[in-house]
Symmetry: C2
Subunit: 513 residues, 2 copies
Amino acid sequence: MGGRNARKAKRAAALPENMKPVHPGEQGGRFKPLDEKDLPRIHETALKALETIGLANAIPSCIEACTSIGCTISPEGRLLIPPSVVNECLEKAGRDITLYGSSPEHDIHLSGEKVYFGTAGAAVHMLNPISREYRESTAADLFDIARVCDTLEHIHFFQRSIVCRDLEDIREMDITTCYASIAGTKKHVGTSFSFADNVNETLRMLHLIAGSEEAWRKRPFVSMSCCHVVPPMKFAEDASACLEAAVRGGMPVLLLSAGQAGATSPATLACCVVQAVAEVLAGLVYVNAVKEGAPAMFGTWPFVSDLRTGAMSGGSGEQAILMAACGQMAQYYNLPSGIAAGMTDSKVPDAQSGYEKGYTVSLAAHSGANLIYESAGMHASLLGCCLESYVIDNDMLGAINRTVRGVEVNDETLSIEPIRDVCLEGPGHYLGHEQTLNRMQKDYLYPTIGDRENINNWIDQGSTDAVQRAHLKVQEILNNHYPENWDEETDLKIREQFPVRLEKHRMRPLEIS
Amino acid sequence: MGGRNARKAKRAAALPENMKPVHPGEQGGRFKPLDEKDLPRIHETALKALETIGLANAIPSCIEACTSIGCTISPEGRLLIPPSVVNECLEKAGRDITLYGSSPEHDIHLSGEKVYFGTAGAAVHMLNPISREYRESTAADLFDIARVCDTLEHIHFFQRSIVCRDLEDIREMDITTCYASIAGTKKHVGTSFSFADNVNETLRMLHLIAGSEEAWRKRPFVSMSCCHVVPPMKFAEDASACLEAAVRGGMPVLLLSAGQAGATSPATLACCVVQAVAEVLAGLVYVNAVKEGAPAMFGTWPFVSDLRTGAMSGGSGEQAILMAACGQMAQYYNLPSGIAAGMTDSKVPDAQSGYEKGYTVSLAAHSGANLIYESAGMHASLLGCCLESYVIDNDMLGAINRTVRGVEVNDETLSIEPIRDVCLEGPGHYLGHEQTLNRMQKDYLYPTIGDRENINNWIDQGSTDAVQRAHLKVQEILNNHYPENWDEETDLKIREQFPVRLEKHRMRPLEIS
């Protein structure tokens, strides 16, 4: 039995990169919810909406930049964007962009149909899944979430997932949100800002951390999630100013249109896609009017409402198919893109949470969008966040990534020689066959906390569920994983110059005296 | 508040069929895990395996039937099937077949890429998800499972999901299994047999229930799941005899090849597909040699092993993509087909169970296979079954079916007039727009026990999870839903003539004195 356990342990040990069964950036795009012929129709309809309805509330600098490349202002004061301007911007837009990690092994390359999984959200609550209690989220929670995600292999980038409710001052909140995220993980970080001044101040902090502005601009390891529109078809004024600051400061921008079908977006799924595409194209025109080719991600995120109550339903089937259709549209434009999936309506990590995440994330991943945001940790239609769920969802993301990697068909994998060996010469099974042993690690992925025991072993080990096992794993990570992403001296400088409101003692292990 | 609740209740009430947002038999096939060019390669490789390796253990009647249409016997005694014979059988095979319900509204039509969800399994345990206890499954459990499934809208057919462990006599078990299933539901029933004599005896029972043999043959409402092979590449002898009895008796047959990758099937996913396709094609040749055009379903079910332990892992990513690839192969042949998904490794209906069911079922459903077996109720890689999980999974299946229905793109759904109305003329939102009200019920599906409450309501209602809510629903169904699928007199006749071992008192409500 000792020998068997030793073999099991060896097989379960960490693999070198080239032996791993899945990698960040597997090739998606095999799920096509829309007919090919519908893609240009949706594009043409979005163009018509931009040309004839346009967007309200463009700020003066937006009007100046956009009219200088051919947009006009309607009698009602709306920014009208002619098809020629959109098509020119589509040609010039930044493609094949890299989102840098603060450590290069976490760089992710957005091109073609490469798929990456990450977090996101603006939850206002943390869930304790053992007691089922919700409480307000804090800056310390954000740091903890970041370091949990830093350890999870199948979460490829980290966008901030909660609002620091303990910080009332918006400047302190914006800056601390970025600080807590980049202090907790070396993966690429996405964050968000309320005002352009806070973008500029944060950029100075990032220059300090990178070593210089030049070093930052060479490898910008933070991007900005920007709701540049308030659907339907209005620019968001403060977000517009943030967008300009980010573009000028070399920070990649996720252009987010987050309408809600039947509320701030049309009730038909097709027209929902049209409005989202139109709004994001407007953002793309805006970005390229400010700086041609600046890195921007196509972020069509139409949400679904439960039309009985008007409340968001992020876990519905309508949400899954709507988001996948948007992923396919992004591929039609061959733009770097990010969509959202994993936004369960359930308040706890239960079976409902699992299946809603399972089908929304898998269809999103196969749609060919590059970035799957919100794919771990979230509950209550994005209002809640749960540390244990990141650990649970990490196993799910690995398995879904395995489905994205797909089935390799070539002379070697197709060869029927193993069948012939086993049937005509061999023992009648493949267990000890050379090919089986070769394929075991490279082709097959093993979960971290996912249960594959037989029933008796599962009972012997305490009849646990995923939450109980994840809880132990979270405790282990929180007690042990304290990344030090910059030195003490840099941290002192940061804290002197910027209003960082994450207490230092929260950032290192408790000293046991 | 009364008015609002009344409106909510009205909106939540059952809809007439033509208003329902999803129907059985939505059109799948939009997920293509394999490249188009790989499909004929896999076919050619399977043909080569059938021609040069062939299958061992063909019974005399199989040899007689198959050699009469051109197969040969190798020096080792294996049945070799030349490509010409396979291709002829592919031409003649039954297509566009109907699986009848015992009530016509449950008929399902297998053609093209229509998708239906159903149960299956041969679990030996029932799980109580509240106490987390496993116990042996019984005939009374099977009847209860059938009547729970009878009430669940998104479960379209019922294949028996447990083994009646309380019955030791195989004849009693085979007959009672069929009886308990058809007594519990009016949906199409799939069952399984150990010996051909039991098939024939059950057929006589079905004639009695249908009214006559002719009536049975007109609307055969029971099909047989038949593991006609023992992978790799051997016929199963008793199952072969069952297959012949079913084909002659007018009972549709699911031709099941259930190898386990790395154990009884090759370790490369591509060659796993090849072996499964070859084995099912052998079954198809066999069926058509016995009776040309007899209804048979292409049942490529390669399972995945956890290669660390050799145990089956039905919830893995490898399983999801392998099964979807098989669904696409079935579509390549345009054969009526059934694959399996939903086979979680988890022992309880937890988050892991949810996500494993979510991604396996959604990718299977979109692959274009007609029947998705095992899609509800199962645990522990098919060894366990749970009543509450059927109720939970029913909501999941509805939502996944909504994603299969997809996004309708046409002049009406694409019209930007609602955007123009709302932006230029209207209130700035779509909530009261005529189109929103029209679409609310036809386009949006609402879960039965799935939680979409806001956090405070959820707390007020007891901070429940899906299992707790499903448990209440199961109790309600078990206490109230007693289908009477035939009259008392027929039941007496059945029990006089056949060894039905489901106690009569288990089939009606407890009398409270």
